[in-house]
């Protein structure tokens, strides 16, 4: 196995952090292992803490999570992706210690989670963690209200207080009026709204979602994703979201970790994965993705020549600083190519790219857009009709 490459791929992306860059780290894990089977811990020690796949197989053990490390920042949506059986669920359950990791380090809000006693852990889960499950995991004998209030009931919150809070979150997820329904009387989408409301009732610091929309059909799934984005805009939670659907990941994620056979292969922003996949596996994963939806203008443009990088592009590069050809207008650097493609191709002229502060950081040629839309096919010439077709 190409472990050096993996290690290399795991570390560097963390340097460039998420959008919120300087924000604090909520949850850190390092060298996390989970080995299923008799005597996993001893096995791990015997093999110097890093058994190979062959050694694991020979020992009859399953390495569900292998040497996983990551940092989750405050307020970001961190998506974990991977094929079925790659260890996503196990990993995320290790993060909340629903499953006891075999080895590794786990730090939540600056304290060592693995050292926490059962009682402390219960307290942390009661007040700081929420989880949404793939198959909803609603309690069949309780109404919507009862289900949503359940985590508070377990904490011993009084009836009036917990029901008031439950009603708030029920309204938040758009289920007002159905408080007294039982789960079996709700559709899948509605049931998952209950699951979401329930996990939000305790105002968790960190929110785990394990394939929350996978059991729903495509239309409802899309609707729920929108709903999720809306909620996140309001709540700004720290989120760990599991999915095996890359489209879902790029819609929701600030950063994505890709897992394979228990290892984290790469961590990065969606466009990093597309533009510079660390391994063939990641490239495979992202191949069918519509690049126009992932790539930002910034990642495609040609940077303004005199500045070393976009960050240091000082005010001197202001003032139409165009290096040849008249510009058709300005584009925000953070926009996705898909959002601006039509304009650029129609204009048949380059655009200036500006960052949030309004500084010009580069220029975008129609040819570059075309290259994203139809890679390798169109020579960088006047886009014309071909480009318009591709954009449609």
């Amino acid at each position: 196995m190409p472990s050096p490459t993996v290690a290399a791929a795991t570390r560097p992306p963390q340097a460039e952090a998420g959008p919120s860059g300087a924000a604090g780290v909520k949850l850190t894990c390092r060298g996390l292992w989970k080995i299923f089977g008799e005597g996993g811990r001893r096995f791990l020690e015997r093999h110097g803490g890093a058994p190979t796949s062959e050694q694991l197989a020979a020992g009859g053990l399953i390495g569900a999570v292998r040497d996983a490390g990551l940092e989750i920042h405050d307020g970001e949506v961190f998506v974990i992706m991977g094929l079925s059986g790659s260890g996503k669920s196990t990993f995320v359950r290790c993060l909340s210690r629903l499953i006891e990791p075999t080895a590794g380090e786990l730090i939540f809000e600056g304290r060592d989670l693995l050292a926490a006693s059962e009682r402390e852990l219960t307290e942390i889960r009661r007040h700081k963690m929420g989880m949404v499950f793939q198959h909803f995991a609603l309690l069949p004998h309780l109404t919507v209200l009862g289900n949503v209030a359940f985590p508070l009931e377990v904490q011993g919150v009084g009836r009036a207080a917990r029901e008031a809070r439950a009603l708030e979150v029920i309204e938040l997820v758009g289920l007002k009026g159905r408080e007294s329904y039982f789960p079996r009387e709700l559709s899948g989408g509605q049931q998952q709204r209950v699951g979401i409301a329930r996990s939000l009732a305790v105002e968790p610091e960190i929110w785990f979602l394990d394939e929350p929309f996978s059991a729903l059909d495509p239309l409802i799934r899309r609707e729920m994703q929108d709903e999720f984005l809306r909620l996140q805009r309001v709540l700004r939670k720290t989120i760990v979201f599991i999915t095996h659907d890359f489209d879902e990941a790029i819609r929701l994620a600030d950063r994505i970790a890709i897992m394979k056979d228990g290892r984290i292969v790469q961590i990065g922003r969606p466009e990093d994965l597309v533009t510079s996949p660390a391994t063939q596996y990641v490239a495979e994963f992202t191949r069918d993705v519509s690049r126009a939806k992932v790539l930002s203008v910034r990642s495609v443009m040609s940077a303004v020549p005199e500045s070393a990088g976009p960050e240091s592009a000082g005010p001197e590069s202001d003032g139409s600083g165009a290096a040849g050809g008249e510009l058709a207008g300005e584009l925000p650097a953070a926009a996705r190519i898909g959002e601006v493609a039509r304009r650029v191709l129609r204009a048949e002229r380059p655009f200036a790219v500006v960052d949030e502060a309004g500084r010009v950081v580069g220029r975008l040629e129609p040819g570059q857009v075309l290259e994203v839309l139809a890679p390798g096919e169109a020579a960088p010439g006047p886009g014309g009709e071909g480009g318009v077709k591709a954009a449609q």
Binding site: R93, S96, L98, T122, E123, R125, R126, M129, G130, M131, F133, Q134, H135, F136, A137, L139, P140, H141, L142, T143, F150, P151, E153, V154, Q155, S180, Y181, F182, R184, E185, S199
Partner: protein, 670 residues
């Protein structure tokens, strides 16, 4: 992908020594059989060699009862204390339902009568209507009406009292053990073999220790009932709790539940439908036990059936037997209705007031109180007048007389020829088989089907039977059981096949089978004895009647379970009906049908012991004799031998069916 591919092509079960082993085993058997003429110990285990297990057990029992002590109190005091505690709720129910009680007031006594029959009938019907609608109310009303009109009321209330105490205790006890097993694999592993044994040892066998420890009377009968009804509840509780989705358990932990919150607020409520199956089982088994329990003093309906059987009073026996069935059916349906009531939306109910929400309870109490008071004015409401009861005794007496006069010659001819040409030769053959040969043959079968462990198990069980000196009796049991199973299959297979082919027959068969299974096993004996007198033949008929149900059910179910696509494919390939049946449906359904055979054997064995009452000479008779003599060791050992036969049959057939299903690529049953 590649992994599953490899799995599929590799043989599911490694090859075992083939034909040769069979031939060798058979040859040994024949050789031993020939040698048996000179070496009698091959057939009849010499008395001198018998391991005196039964005396050891009896001695241990005596020691327990006489000398064992916990220091502060003796073992006997301990058991009697349990009996005393259990007696309290039982007496309360009896007072309420059947006896009433007397308050001494100076010189005179004030007799407080029990609840009026009309009140109980009305309250049951009302409750059924509230939880299950008009149909259930009609059913329960008719059932309780039967008890009144056929003069079964008082006995039925005695029986109901013990059921009302035994069932909740069985449920709670079973659930607690089940929870312990769910939480701790070790506990489960320790419990499983005990549960297996409890479910295969004939009930009679553990009546004796119960009798010994708790004395004769309704309380020990109740304890025996609880012990009998408990095992399925334990198993079902474990299964139901395990079936709670992992995600739900994880949710509970994420919400920060404590152990206790987890159990009461998450696990048990989520598993409640599964648990209800267990509750239903406990009710049915408790009622099954009614007659048998009356042998150690339960009284009530069971006692009536037993007495009628002894007098050969067919009418009285049937009436009381049907009364038990009727009680079972109404309790069962009512229980199911209560359980599934949660399935109707309740959010409508919320807004209503106290009276509406507790309407059922208020109504029941109102009816009971109203009828109670009314009965002071109208005595007929207290005791249903004897003059108005229906008695079928004379009718059945006439019927039997008629049968005896007109049909006796035919019936006797059938019976005699079957006895002479089939039953007796088969019995001679089996009894003449040398035990080492049989053990060897079983071992080879076990080896071929399930490997060395199974082989060792079945051989050991066979040797156990021989060593404890029960070989001959066991062979008689095997003969009676075997021939009954063959007959039951001869009836059950064709009926099952027909039922699988037609909706109408399916429905009729299903209903008949359901009814047959709710009748208490003793009831089968009555008409059989009336027609054929006592003896092996009567026993066989009764066993067949009792055990035919699973043969029909599993065949029907098995053939229906053959995937529709396969049947269609066979049709497209041009199979005719007969070909379809023999070449496609039956082979594919065979594992399931074999499980039916297995069930039939189990039912036949349990009936075997009961048919000891009609004069068989097998292990069942041994147990029965031991019961009448309160000989614990004797009864338990003979009972264990019956269990040995059951376990051998069950493991062999079960392993075969599992293997076959695997070979056919069918999924395992849950």
């Amino acid at each position: 992908m590649t992994v599953t591919g490899e799995m599929a092509t590799a043989p599911a079960v490694p090859r075992r020594p083939g034909l040769l082993a069979w031939v060798a085993a058979l040859a040994v058997l024949v050789a031993l059989w020939l040698a048996a003429g000179r070496l009698t110990w091959l057939v009849a285990w010499p008395d001198g060699w018998i391991v005196p297990l039964r005396y050891w057990i009896s001695d241990a029992m005596h020691w327990l009862v006489r000398d064992a002590t916990f220091g502060l109190f003796t073992f006997k005091e301990f058991t009697r204390a349990i009996a005393w505690v259990l007696n309290l709720p039982l007496q309360a129910c009896l007072v309420l339902l059947s006896r009433g009680f007397e308050v001494p007031l100076g010189a005179a006594t004030l007799a407080v009568p029990p609840l009026s029959w009309l009140g109980v009938l009305g309250a049951m019907t009302f409750a059924s209507w509230r939880v299950g609608g008009r149909r259930l109310a009609l059913l329960v009303g008719l059932c309780f009406g039967y008890l009144v009109v056929f003069g079964q009321w008082n006995s039925a209330m005695v029986t109901l009292s013990s059921i009302l105490v035994a069932v909740p205790l069985g449920i709670v006890g079973g659930a607690l053990l089940g929870i312990a097993g769910y939480r701790n694999r070790e506990v489960e592993r320790a419990m499983t073999p005990i549960l297996d044994l409890m479910q295969t040892v004939p009930v009679f066998a553990y009546l004796i220790p119960v009798l010994f420890l708790f004395g004769f009377g309704p309380v020990s009968a109740m304890i025996a009932t609880i012990v009998y009804a408990l095992p399925p509840m334990v198993r079902i509780t474990i299964l139901a709790l395990r079936a709670v989705p992992a995600e739900v358990v994880e949710f509970g932990r994420m919400a920060g539940c404590t152990e206790r919150q987890m159990l009461w607020k998450v696990l048990l409520p989520s598993a409640r439908y599964g648990l209800m199956v267990g509750v239903n089982q406990v009710i049915m088994l408790s009622l099954n036990m009614v007659i048998i329990a009356s042998m150690i003093g339960a009284g009530g309906l069971g006692h009536d059936v037993l007495a009628a059987l002894r007098r050969l009073a067919i009418g009285a026996g049937l009436e009381a037997g049907v009364a038990i069935t009727v009680l079972a059916i109404s309790l069962d349906r009512l229980g199911q209705a209560i359980a599934s009531r949660g399935a109707t939306p309740v959010h409508v109910l919320r807004a209503r007031g106290f009276v509406a929400r507790h309407g059922t309870l208020i109504g029941i109490l109102g009816i009971l109180a109203g009828a109670y008071l009314l009965a002071f004015l109208v005595p007929a409401l207290r005791h249903y007048p004897d003059a108005l009861t229906v008695n079928t005794g004379p009718f059945f007496d006439k019927l039997v007389e008629w049968v005896n006069v007109h049909l006796f010659t035919y019936l006797d001819a059938v019976k005699s020829s079957l006895l002479i040409y089939v039953l007796i030769p088969f019995k001679r053959f089996l009894v003449g088989l040398p035990w080492p040969g049989v053990a060897l043959l079983l071992a080879v079968a076990g080896w071929r089907i399930g490997g060395p462990r199974l082989a060792a198990l079945v051989a050991a069980l066979a040797v156990f039977v021989a060593v404890t000196g029960n070989w001959e009796k066991a062979m008689i049991s095997a003969y009676l059981c075997g021939i009954s199973v063959v007959v039951a299959m001869l009836i059950g297979l064709p009926v099952g096949i027909l039922a699988a082919g037609s909706e109408r027959i399916h429905r009729i068969a299903q209903n008949t089978v359901d009814t047959l299974q709710t009748l208490p096993s003793f009831v089968y004996l009555i008409p059989v004895v009336m027609l054929f007198q006592v003896g092996d033949f009567s026993a066989m008929i009764a066993i067949v009647a009792y055990a035919v149900a699973p043969a029909v059910r599993y065949t029907d179910h098995g053939i229906r379970g053959v995937p529709g696509e396969i049947v269609e494919a066979a049709r497209m390939a041009g199979c005719r009906r007969g070909q379809l049946l023999w070449k496609v449906q039956i082979p594919l359904a065979l594992p399931e049908i074999m499980l039916g055979v297995n069930q039939t054997i189990m039912m036949a064995l349990s009936m075997l012991v009961i048919s000891a009452l009609v004069g068989t000479r097998d292990l069942g008779q041994e147990v029965y004799i031991a019961l009448t003599r309160a000989d614990t060791g004797h009864g338990l050992v003979a009972g264990l031998c019956v269990a040995c036969i059951a376990i051998v049959a069950d493991r062999l057939i079960g392993a075969w069916a599992a293997r076959r299903r695997e070979e056919l690529g069918m999924e395992q049953r849950a």
